[in-house]
């Protein structure tokens, strides 16, 4: 059975393996516990590796996981073991770079949480139900940013994000 390239999940974890933003596109992990267990395995297995310059890759339980770390954030993309690893790597790169664009280079957990809406929209624009929508970081970031008021640019979106932050502080 020939199949379209399919993504099983996208995970953004912090430096302790806790969730920042995650999205599953497969029923392979039916319960919350199954998902958490998977995230723990993935995190532990990759913790000691250095995935900061080049994207790294690993395999277990018939899943292929490509990943990259920056600062205190760990980016993961998972596919099945029949999948073309380079396609997974391209998706990872798109995710990684678009987050970088959206957070204006300040890619760390704090900023990610402060702009969680952007991160979630970003993931939403990359994969739909497991099918790859877009892999180009500029295109992805563009789709996210234009959802701000009157199709503003990324920098204005960032300004909006800062406003969000200010407001939540003053709550």
């Amino acid at each position: 059975m020939v199949s379209c390239p399919s993504i099983k999940n996208i995970l953004l974890l912090d430096s302790e393996g806790k969730r920042v933003a995650v999205k599953y596109f497969s029923d392979d992990w039916a319960t919350l516990n199954a998902k958490l267990a998977f995230e723990k395995s993935v995190f532990t297995k990759t913790q000691k590796t250095n995935a900061r310059t080049e994207a790294e890759i690993t395999m277990f339980d018939n899943y292929i996981i490509v990943y990259k770390f920056i600062h205190d954030l760990h980016f993961f993309v998972t596919g099945g073991d029949e999948e073309n690893e380079l396609i997974l790597a391209t998706v990872l790169q798109g995710f990684f770079d678009s987050v970088g664009l959206l957070l204006r280079g300040d890619v760390e957990k704090r900023t990610a949480l402060e702009n969680l809406d952007l991160i979630l929209l970003c993931i939403d624009e990359i994969v739909d139900g497991g099918i790859i929508l877009e892999t180009d970081a500029n295109a992805i970031a563009g789709k996210v940013a234009t959802n701000s008021v009157d199709g503003t640019t990324v920098s204005q979106a960032l300004a909006t994000a800062r406003e969000h932050l200010a407001r939540s502080l003053l709550k």
Binding site: V22, I57, E85, L86, L113, E134
Partner: protein
């Protein structure tokens, strides 16, 4: 007005725990969601609340049915706002909440309105949301919008519709199939990803129609493929067509397409084509990429290919070997398992050495893979692993892996044990054989049919050297009552020439007999079992030391039980050399005083005290020439399982004080030895000799030979000769010494006896040789570094040198030199020949 939670500018250090969601709680957020009902909507605020809700959902928080419904209803009110940022968040949360059918109705009209909106992002996202939440009836209502969207000018909209089509195809295939024309049009789209999505959808629609797929592929392989993803799809479909068509006709263009794909720029395309063809040379190139993902992808594919067609992958062996040390352990494991399939005999040795280091690194699931691969390798090279001399590491690795297999895979136990039994039939390493016998003794009795192993063990009792015989006796005992019908063989062991074997046989026979006669007594049974299988409560080293202190007198040598079959080293052709005998007469007595002195010195060093009884110490061998600054000689101390090199050093320079003196030994030409301890010489002043030691482990009972190169290393401090005081600071230095060789003769105590015999007329020299050999009951063999025939009987080592001469009248004369550490053995052998 609430107080700020954290001051914005100062205390950046405090921020590790800071999160905008610190202290967030579902109840209060749900309360906040009431703002959705405000007539004057605050877009920013509503967006924030939605973000918080999404955060909660993302963290695993669950909403009850009622809560979810309430939130959903409130969210629908947000369609009133024109803020696009907010609208986007609304789309997100609707998808997350997954409303039920009756709830969906409320938003349908709003979403349908958005589907026709001027704003591209609204159209695209509304389509995606709708497709996610609607059922068949609603779908027919919006069908025409979707069809329009598929061919929309805006690529984002078109992609959204096409991807939604792929999802909808699963639940409503008949409806989606009606969109073929539009999808077909989209395949021709200029927008890269639209083509990709259209291709995916069209293939899904047509996948059961082989001809249609073939046509699809044909049209596109000739046409323009606009994105790497689309190309990958096409490669997959093309190889599917080739596979399914079976016939050769019309396939040329497909192959051409695949080949052309190998030369594309995008790596994912090259790889997709390479892995499906498979194109080994291309994959081989990827093996040396700097990117881990590429190396992994290539080695994984080659690994799969190698499992079915190992010969196809052999060209990659060299590249694979360098991957064994890859930082990425998954890559390394795949490389090793591939090499185990594709490796040839020479590379296998290298591999086995690396595997033993490697096994501790990898996860259990990979371990099983590696062990299985090793097993099939053993089957592939049975000759290799049986007759490999000097391949101790190799054999040990195999044995370890079989033991692992038995432990981890219960089904493999029986065949694994049999494997081990066959292994010890040919194993010349006493250490390994005894370990294996011990293991069989523990595992064998537990199997369903233990008696099949007994035969192998009996053979060891008859055929092997004393150490192995003793181990075999113990193993037999563990089989307990099963051995009973064959006790006669154990009884024969009572006459074994070796003390250990006899003692063990006696002990076990008694134990088993008592077990039998009181078979109903459970306590005795327990005792027997505990005795056979239990372990000593005291450390073995202590036991050994106390035993050594106990004096034992030697038993009379019983010639009748010299075994006819003797385990020997592998056969090689060699003619006897004529060497002058070193001497006749009564065997030289051991130089007791020197040995005692050495023994005392060595046992005073804690690291060496566990080595057991010192067997022999060599005479000092000079490692430096005369008149040199540092004079070093070496004494070789031989133990059963160890060798200690004692370096006697003298410093002949008055102006120097040497400290921390050690010898760096390179044992790469002494494969059976491994360095286990170093005893440095703390201080070596002028003209005051001192010793430094290096200890090696070697297989027990084996006559291991090797060459060791030596480098004297030390810290040198200047000494003022007038005061005799040394400087505070020293300089590191080294001094090359001569090599040390350990040969078989080092294991011999000299008890030599030489005699000449006439053997009368014989047909040929070789016939004469065979005759003598039969009489002696020995096998000729060759041990490198040692002159012609050498043989070892039990624990009494015997070196026999036979020089044959045949004259014109075919009379054979034989000169027999026998050297042994037991003088009565030398006598005995001469007697055999005489009589």
């Amino acid at each position: 007005m609430a107080q700020p939670l954290v001051k914005k500018d100062d205390d950046r250090d405090d921020e590790e725990e800071y999160s905008p969601f610190l202290g967030i709680e579902k109840g209060s957020v749900l309360q906040e969601a009431r703002v959705f009902n405000d007539p004057q909507l605050d877009a920013r605020r509503c967006s924030q609340v939605i973000t918080k809700l999404l955060y909660l959902l993302n963290q695993g928080e669950t909403f009850t049915k009622i809560e979810a419904t309430e939130v959903f209803f409130s969210v629908t009110k947000l369609f009133q706002s024109k803020d696009s940022g907010l609208r986007r968040m609304v789309y997100l949360i609707i998808k997350e909440l997954s409303p039920s059918a009756d709830e969906v109705i409320i938003v349908t009209s709003s979403l349908m309105k958005d589907m026709n909106s001027k704003t591209d992002m609204y159209r695209a996202n509304a389509i995606r949301v709708l497709s996610r939440i609607i059922d068949g009836t609603l779908l027919t209502q919006i069908e025409r919008y979707l069809k329009q969207a598929i061919v929309d000018k805006n690529s984002v909209v078109a992609s959204a519709a096409l991807v939604s089509g792929v999802h909808l195809l699963e639940t409503n295939p008949d409806i989606v199939k009606r969109w073929s024309n539009e999808v077909q049009e989209a395949v021709q789209s200029r927008a890269a990803l639209v083509q990709f999505h259209a291709l995916a959808l069209l293939h899904q629609i047509r996948q059961n129609d082989r001809l249609a797929v073939s046509k699809l592929v044909t049209s596109l392989t000739r046409g323009n493929v606009r994105s790497p993803l689309a190309q990958c799809l096409l490669i997959r479909y093309t190889s599917q067509v080739i596979r399914e068509s079976g016939t050769q006709t019309g396939e040329r263009p497909f192959f051409d397409f695949l080949e052309a794909s190998l030369r594309q720029k995008a790596e994912m395309v090259i790889f997709e084509a390479a892995r499906l063809t498979p194109a080994i040379t291309v994959l081989q190139l990827f093996l040396s990429s700097s990117k881990p993902v590429l190396r992994f992808a290539a080695v994984r594919t080659l690994n799969k290919v190698a499992m079915a067609h190992p010969l196809a992958v052999t060209n990659c062996n060299i590249d694979m070997e360098s991957l064994i040390s890859d930082q990425n352990r998954s890559i390394a494991t795949l490389a090793i398992t591939t090499l185990l399939k594709t490796g040839n005999e020479s590379s296998v040795d290298r591999l086995m050495k690396q595997i033993t280091n490697f096994m501790s690194d990898i996860s259990d699931e990979f371990k099983i893979v590696v062990v299985e691969a090793i097993r099939s390798l053993c089957l592939k090279f049975p000759l290799k692993y049986r007759s490999l001399r000097g391949g101790f590491d190799f054999k040990k690795a195999i044995v370890d892996s079989i033991v692992l297999l038995i432990r981890d895979i219960p089904d493999a136990k029986e065949s694994g044990l049999l494997h081990l039994c066959e292994f010890i039939e040919d194993c010349e390493f006493t250490y390994l054989s005894t370990q294996i016998l011990h293991f069989i003794g523990n595992e064998g009795p537990k199997t369903s049919d233990p008696s099949k192993y007994i035969r192998y063990i009996y053979n060891r009792v008859i055929l092997e050297n004393a150490t192995v015989r003793a181990a075999a006796v113990s193993t037999l005992a563990k089989f307990g009552a099963l051995v009973a019908p064959h006790l006669i063989l154990l009884r024969r062991c009572l006459y074994d020439i070796d003390d250990e074997v006899r003692d063990r046989a006696t002990l076990y026979l008694d134990t088993l007999a008592s077990g039998e006669s009181e078979a109903t007594n459970d306590q005795t049974d327990e005792d027997v079992k505990g005795f056979l299988f239990g372990s000593l409560g005291i450390p073995l080293n202590n036991l050994e030391t106390s035993l050594q202190k106990y004096e034992v007198s030697k038993e009379p040598f019983d010639i009748a039980s010299v075994p006819k079959e003797v385990k020997s080293q592998p056969l090689v052709e060699k003619k006897a050399a004529g060497k002058k005998p070193t001497g006749l007469g009564p065997p030289a007595s051991k130089p007791t005083s020197a040995v005692d002195a050495y023994e005392r010195l060595l046992s005073s060093i804690p690291e060496f005290s566990s080595f057991g009884k010192l067997f022999k110490s060599s005479a000092p061998v000079e490692l430096t020439e005369a008149e040199t600054e540092y004079s070093v000689n070496v004494v070789k101390h031989v133990y059963d399982g160890h060798v200690v090199l004692q370096y006697n050093c003298t410093n002949t320079i008055p102006e120097q004080l040497l400290e921390n003196v050690t010898v760096l030994v390179d044992a790469s030409e002494a494969e059976e030895f491994s360095e286990v301890a170093v005893w440095p010489l703390k201080s070596l002043p002028y003209d005051s000799p001192g010793q430094t030691f290096v200890a090696f482990e070697k297989p027990e009972g084996a006559v291991s030979a090797g060459k060791f190169s030596n480098l004297l290393k030390f810290i040198v401090k200047e000494v003022d000769p007038s005061t005799g005081e040394a400087e505070e600071e020293g300089v590191e230095d080294e001094y090359q010494l001569e090599e040390v060789e350990i040969v078989a003769a080092d294991y011999m105590l000299k008890n030599e006896r030489v005699d000449e015999y006439g053997l009368g007329p014989r047909d040929s020299l070789s016939e004469a040789v065979s005759a003598v050999i039969n009489i002696l009951g020995m096998h000729p063999c060759e041990v490198p570094h040692v002159p012609p025939l050498g043989v070892f009987i039990g624990n009494a080592k015997v070196l026999v040198r036979l020089a044959f001469g045949i004259d014109a009248s075919k009379h054979v004369a034989m000169k027999l030199a026998v050297r042994s550490d037991d003088p009565s053995v030398s006598e005995a052998i001469h007697d055999i020949v005489n009589g």
